[in-house]
């Protein structure tokens, strides 16, 4: 029971964290990113497409397709994020508008393309790409232990990928030149410009990283929640991720905490419904727990946290 909460909670929290870190990269560079929802959807679509193509050619080994689909998802998300970068950095659009517009465009585009491609090439008429069930691994040695057991039971491979990404991103953001430049862009882009660096290029890369990470998070959810890519992928994970990073004060480690809280709360409310043997319609009420929790937490934490100073501001090189 408790183990199940941990297993399900982690499977939800880690992809969410990857998406949230994507948001952190973009927002720390000064670009508000409400487009995460659309980016993760397009990433999942790209991954799903890649998987569907690969299994046609190598039907005997879906493991290759499984792993390659993650790369495809990252590339897809990053590519689609170029629109956000173009609108926000080059065309000086309102970043909030751009984010919302991209979400709408992503939903329309993935829906259209999925249906169209299925019809044209894969001789199906559905609006879904079907994926294989992701493998799960258990470390038998430790799985019997109480809480620790939950951590090593039925682990999806992408949870490991997610953890690796988190470590890499942390290092990139806080220990490298690029990270130093990126965070400076979010506080005072003039200083970056004065140091002879291109604010536009740094922000472009930051937005693309955020698109890539969102894409990976998206395909993770596609595998874990529904084993297909359909319009149901737009269930609000992108916005949950934004709430998580606000709650985590735009820092990676506190955001990890926020994501764990969401994931565990969600899993726990499911398990509670099961445990009390309640009617299945209660699931609908259990579903609202993470969303309500986000709102309540934001009430307590929104006031004191510090967004990057230059967040949402258009940087025009000419003005100083």
């Amino acid at each position: 029971m408790l183990n199940q909460v941990i297993i399900d909670g982690l499977a939800f929290a880690l992809p969410l964290l990857v998406i949230a870190i994507g948001g952190i990269f973009s927002e720390h560079s000064g670009v508000t990113n409400l487009a995460l929802e659309g980016l993760l959807g397009f990433g999942a679509f790209s991954g799903g497409l890649c998987f569907t193509i690969l299994v046609q050619f190598i039907p005997f080994d879906s493991a290759v397709a499984f792993y390659v689909s993650f790369i495809a998802a990252a590339l897809g998300g990053a590519t689609f994020s170029l629109i956000h970068a173009l609108l926000c950095i080059r065309l000086q659009a309102n970043q909030v508008i751009s984010g919302v517009v991209i979400n709408i465009a992503a939903m329309a585009l993935t829906g259209f393309l999925t249906a169209q491609l299925n019809q044209s090439f894969f001789s199906g008429s559905s609006n879904k790409f079907f994926l294989s069930t992701a493998p799960r691994y258990t470390l038998d040695l430790l799985s019997g232990l109480p809480i620790l057991g939950g951590l090593v039971t039925n682990v999806y491979p992408f949870e490991i990928i997610a953890l690796l990404l988190v470590v890499i991103c942390w290092f990139l953001l806080y220990r490298t030149r690029f990270g130093l430049h990126l965070r400076a862009c979010g506080d005072n882009p003039q200083s970056v410009d004065a140091a002879g660096l291109s604010v536009a290029r740094i922000r472009l890369v930051a937005v693309m990283i955020s698109g890539g990470l969102a894409g990976v998070g998206g395909i993770c959810f596609a595998y874990s929640i529904s084993t297909n890519v359909s319009p149901a992928i737009y269930f609000g994970a992108g916005f949950l991720a934004i709430a998580a990073l606000i709650f985590g004060n735009w820092q990676i480690i506190p955001t990890l905490g926020a994501c764990l809280i969401f994931g565990l709360a969600r899993a726990a409310s499911f398990q509670l419904v099961l445990l009390l043997e309640m009617d299945s319609s209660i699931f609908d009420l259990a579903m609202i727990v993470p969303y309500v929790l986000v709102l309540v937490l934001l009430v307590f934490f929104s006031k004191n946290n510090r967004a990057p100073k230059a967040l949402g501001q258009v940087y025009d090189k000419g003005q100083s």
Binding site: R175, T176, D187, Q190, A194, A195
Partner: protein
Amino acid sequence: MSETILELKHISKRFPGVIANNDISLEIQRGEIFAFLGENGAGKSTLASIIFGMYSPDAGEIILRGQAVQINSPARAVELDIGMVHQHFKLVSNYSVTENIILGREPIKRLLGIIPAIDYKKARAQVQELIDRYDFDLSADDLIEDLNVSSQQRVEILKMLYRDAEILIFDEPTAMLTPQEIDSLLAIIRRLREAGKTIILITHKLEEIKLVADRCAIMSRGHLIDVYDVQTTSTQLMANRMVGRQLSFQLDKAPAHFGPAVLELKELSVIDAFKVKRLDKASFTVHAGEVFALAGVAGNGQIQLADALAGLVQHSGQIILNGQDISQASVRKRIQSGLAYIPEDRHGVGLFLDFDVTENLISKQYYRPPFAHWAFLQKKTSQRYAELLIVRYDVRCAQGPATIVRSMSGGNQQKLIIARELDTHADLVIFVQPTRGLDIGATLSIRQRIIDERNSGKAVLLISLELEEVLTVADNIAVIFNGNLTKVTPAAEISLAELGEYMMGVRQ
């Protein structure tokens, strides 16, 4: 003189609607302090920006160390060993001194022999070594947001030195500093010259040029008037050449006739959102017919005081306006009981940049007759009112009342605010930094306006960082330091130097 390090030949630069630099040629020698002197709008900052690669000239040539060069970006300028301290510091507020200085030129170490990471240890050592060599009072680990303006400026200087800059450009470096800080900055500039650096100093303050510069180029409306040897040229001559006409520096200031108390503050305290005490039990009285000035270095609580008076921030203590306690009143109630406020931040607070002149002029009265009837705005009335004020306060706006404020010049935007505030006929007028960034003509006219208000029996609270303004305009002066009022005195009984010492907290 020794060799020429930098030569400008026939530099011209125009922007839509204005010629910023018109055929400017001059030579700068290695190891000298060369000043650009001129009013706002004279084109001196544009010229410096061209040297630093921020703008490219429309015509002309730059010759650096005997070679023609294209400086098409600040990065290129830095490669050519040119550095610049901008008027607005380009510092990352949540980074340390070290991180700011190394930004863009970070020393690297290889983790596990391959992964590049910033070598913070080495960086810190290098920065500390620079700080020690030039004897700057700083620590490599300080966070920028904890430093005062003059320390932040030193970080900017260190940034140039870290990059081995040879030509150092200072853009209005003393605008935000106290007299003592100015002295120490000028000393640093001299030390830099002794270390072999060439310095370009942009300023509109003659005294500074007299103190440090070797030669000085005077500019006016985009033209280079002439280059003078500072030692052998009189201040008066330079001043006249700079503005192109004879100026009277004298304000028309009749003796004060104090009336009854208009504003009484009793133990006013402000604690900000981060639980920091910004203002500590300030008490003073301003009378009708009096200019009461609050002098202090930026960030010592004066803005909080003004905001508290206007009701924009939480505060404790009593505010009595015309005998009425308004400490609990709303912003609008305070305006109605006779408080006008010209804020420091014109764009951020004082104006709706995307509204037109009319809508800005009625922003404090739009809700009451004759500007509104029941719930409805009376557009015609407002427009006539705007036309009236535009004439009365000489606001220059291209399309009259329908001009969008964003398109107006800074001086006219400020006049717009002043027109709006003074025309409410408030008994107390708070001016915060009323002449910041304006040229001499506009500055004098606004200072005269303040004195006229006082002569007509208004109480004026003037908050300014410019000591000259405080001394010439005020009747009484209070000094604010670290949120405390440290000294209250008649303006006639204190000197510039003394005032500076109080502002720095040297004297209590």
